[in-house]
């Protein structure tokens, strides 16, 4: 019980410290703002807007997510080891395993917050994107400008709230702005699901493309695997090598099917590499949506199992390495 409370305290602090860093806020804000602007940047693609916006938004989610995961994991571990704060924490009655795993949970928390922001923005941006409407006398391409404006307003408002609270109460800008952004996006989703794209009242839960949610969740699972990789690397090397290696593994994992998968049956090496390098294609299922289908629960379960097995293996390795580390 005591261990659990310790772990909660450590994980909470890890998430809080990361979210208070300007870099984390910057990554969250830039990815959300770019996603929100997508419907206005990609115009008149003959009704393909929804698909283009969706694909680009998911790509932003994944790429920025890799940086958020890498950055959060390295600040949680490499940075703490370099700056010495880990020294103080480990001089308290905290076991190394508990320290390492709690840090990981904290990083997953940060990735969760980022993914929530990215996911909600994607949901809204897809709704804003131009689509053909033929109803109630309206026939033609409609862009949901109101929701779009609301979405941009939420981004600006979050920054204003952060600045005001920082000015009045001296609370950190980063974490306050992130919280405000999350709250604003949730409100936006509620509003958007109450009205349809022409601005008329409509029953809840019919006005947003909820099929996007499982896709976001899968990307988030991929990011969790990435976090465990970054944590494990952080026990051995510093921040820059960790981030570089994570980007490399991300690129390899995206191409894993082509690079190794094609030769996996003929060559032992290709087979080994194919199973060793995490295959991000499992977590990238946009094409499924474009074909008009949706993601089944069974597939979600399998992907979650893959992520769980992968992350656990990496974390076991990380725990062993961290136990032997000279802090």
């Amino acid at each position: 019980m005591f261990r659990l409370r310790q772990a909660v305290a450590l994980a909470g602090l890890t998430a809080l410290e990361a979210l208070r860093q300007p870099v984390c806020l910057l990554l969250i804000l830039v990815s959300s703002t770019l996603t929100a602007l997508l419907p206005f940047l990609i115009l008149h693609r003959f009704g393909e807007d929804g698909k283009l916006v969706r694909d680009s938004a998911f790509a932003l989610h994944a790429v920025f997510g890799v940086f958020v995961a890498g950055y959060a994991a390295t600040t949680a571990l490499s940075r703490e080891l370099e700056s010495g704060t880990a020294l103080v924490v480990l001089s308290k009655p905290v076991s190394r395993d508990c320290f390492f795993l709690s840090k990981f949970v904290g990083v997953v928390g940060v990735v969760g917050v980022f993914s929530l922001c990215a996911g909600l923005t994607t949901l809204l941006a897809e709704r804003v994107a131009e689509r053909f409407v033929n109803r109630d006398g309206v026939a033609g391409f409609v862009t949901d400008g109101q929701t779009g404006a609301l979405l941009i307003a939420v981004m600006v408002a979050a920054c204003v709230v952060g600045a005001v609270v920082n000015y009045k109460r001296q609370r950190p800008f980063g974490s306050v702005t992130t919280t405000a952004l999350l709250g604003g996006l949730l409100l936006c989703v509620v509003l958007a699901s109450c009205f349809d794209r022409t601005g008329q009242w409509a029953p809840f839960a019919t006005r947003l493309d909820w099929r996007l949610v499982p896709v976001s969740v899968l990307i988030t699972l991929g990011l969790v695997v990435m976090s465990s990789l970054a944590m494990t690397l952080s026990t051995v090397v510093g921040m820059v090598p960790t981030l570089a290696s994570c980007s490399a593994v991300f690129a390899l994992g995206m191409m894993s099917d082509y690079l190794f998968g094609l030769h996996a049956t003929e060559s032992l090496w290709a087979g080994l590499l194919y199973s060793a390098v995490p295959n991000w294609q499992h977590f990238w299922v946009c094409d499924q949506l474009n074909a008009g289908g949706s993601i089944t629960g069974g597939y979600m379960g399998l992907a979650a199992l893959y992520a769980l097995v992968y992350a656990s293996a990496l974390l076991c390795l990380g725990t062993v390495l961290f136990r032997q580390k000279d802090v």
Binding site: L10, L16, E17, R20, G84, L87, V88, L90, P172
Partner: protein, 306 residues
């Protein structure tokens, strides 16, 4: 009771630490065959010039580094044992604080790692902030702190669990003379209550007044060890402490001494050292000339009083 007071709390035998590079090739022999034993209730000083291996020794004691050779017995346990760490307080060489937390959040966080109840955490935090003079800055981010303020918070953090063994790496570095004096007074008071203190320093003036025993290290090896009073005693001289006498009496006194013991005697007026002078000036400035000098000394946190 007496037996407990004299028992050893820390025993180090032939401790050696060799730092290796990334490819596991030996690089530096930071500690080399160190033997130590610290008794319960004493203030033990680990002295030595820069790079002599003091901080490395301390990190070995805390299980933060793994020794290359040798053994450490710490409170009937081993370094790194969670149960042992419950009873230890540690102040690192540099305070190493979370930049984006406030002092209050910092102490509350460490309180949670010791599993103190919420009420106890808050009470101890308030008392320690007051004791270290940080109450006014309690809600500012630690990242903006001056070196001395960070040091004070580091000290507060080390005392949070009312430790039996307090391990301090250069506790007075970065503190102003008032702060130094306060820390030394506090350490003495804690030791009088039975806390064992192991500290490192190269500021010898600081150590001289408070340490019971010391080890002097150089290049990772212990070079001299023992009771501070014995080490510093000059066995063939003694001083006589008197109020100021008039010139005639003084002359007569010296005459008598020379005649009775047939030796050279000299008279000099002791002067305050700069630290004492500084402390007096500042205390007078803060309290008005008439106030008692103790008035500026902060009160020991109530939970530390035994």
């Amino acid at each position: 009771m007496q037996e407990k007071a004299n028992s050893t709390i820390l025993e180090v035998v032939q401790l050696t630490k060799v730092f290796c590079d990334f490819w596991r090739r030996p690089k530096v022999r930071a500690v080399d065959g160190l033997n130590l034993s610290v008794r319960r209730g004493e203030i033990f000083g680990l002295l030595g010039p820069n790079g002599s291996g003091k901080s490395t020794t301390i990190k070995l004691l805390l299980g933060l580094l793994h020794p290359t050779e040798g053994s450490i017995r710490l409170m009937e346990g081993r370094p790194g044992d969670v149960a042992v760490h419950r009873r230890i307080g540690y102040l690192p060489e540099v305070s190493h604080l979370y930049r984006y937390l406030t002092p209050r959040e910092t102490l509350l966080f460490y309180g949670r790692l010791f599993d103190l109840s919420a009420r106890e955490r808050r009470a101890r935090t308030d008392q320690l902030l007051e004791m270290t003079g940080l109450t006014a800055a309690a809600d500012r981010a630690v990242g903006e702190f001056s070196k001395g303020m960070a040091r004070r918070l580091g000290l507060a953090q080390a005392l949070l669990n009312a430790p039996e063994l307090l391990i301090l790496d250069e506790p007075t570095s970065g503190l102003d003379p008032m702060g130094c004096r306060q820390v030394k007074e506090m350490l003495r008071a804690l030791a009088d209550q039975g806390t064992t203190i192991l500290l490192t320093s190269h500021l010898l003036a600081d150590v001289e007044h408070i340490c019971d025993r010391v080890v002097i290290m150089y290049n990772g090896k212990p070079r001299a060890a023992g009771n501070l009073r014995d080490l510093l005693a000059t066995p063939d001289r003694m001083t006589l402490d008197l109020p100021v006498l008039d010139a005639a009496t003084t002359r007569r006194l010296l005459q008598t001494i020379r005649e009775t013991c047939d030796c050279e005697a000299e008279l000099s007026r002791p002067s305050m050292n700069l630290e004492e002078f500084f402390v007096r000036v500042v205390r007078e400035a803060t309290n008005g000339a008439s106030a008692a000098p103790e008035a500026a000394t902060p009160r020991m946190a109530a939970f530390l009083e035994k």
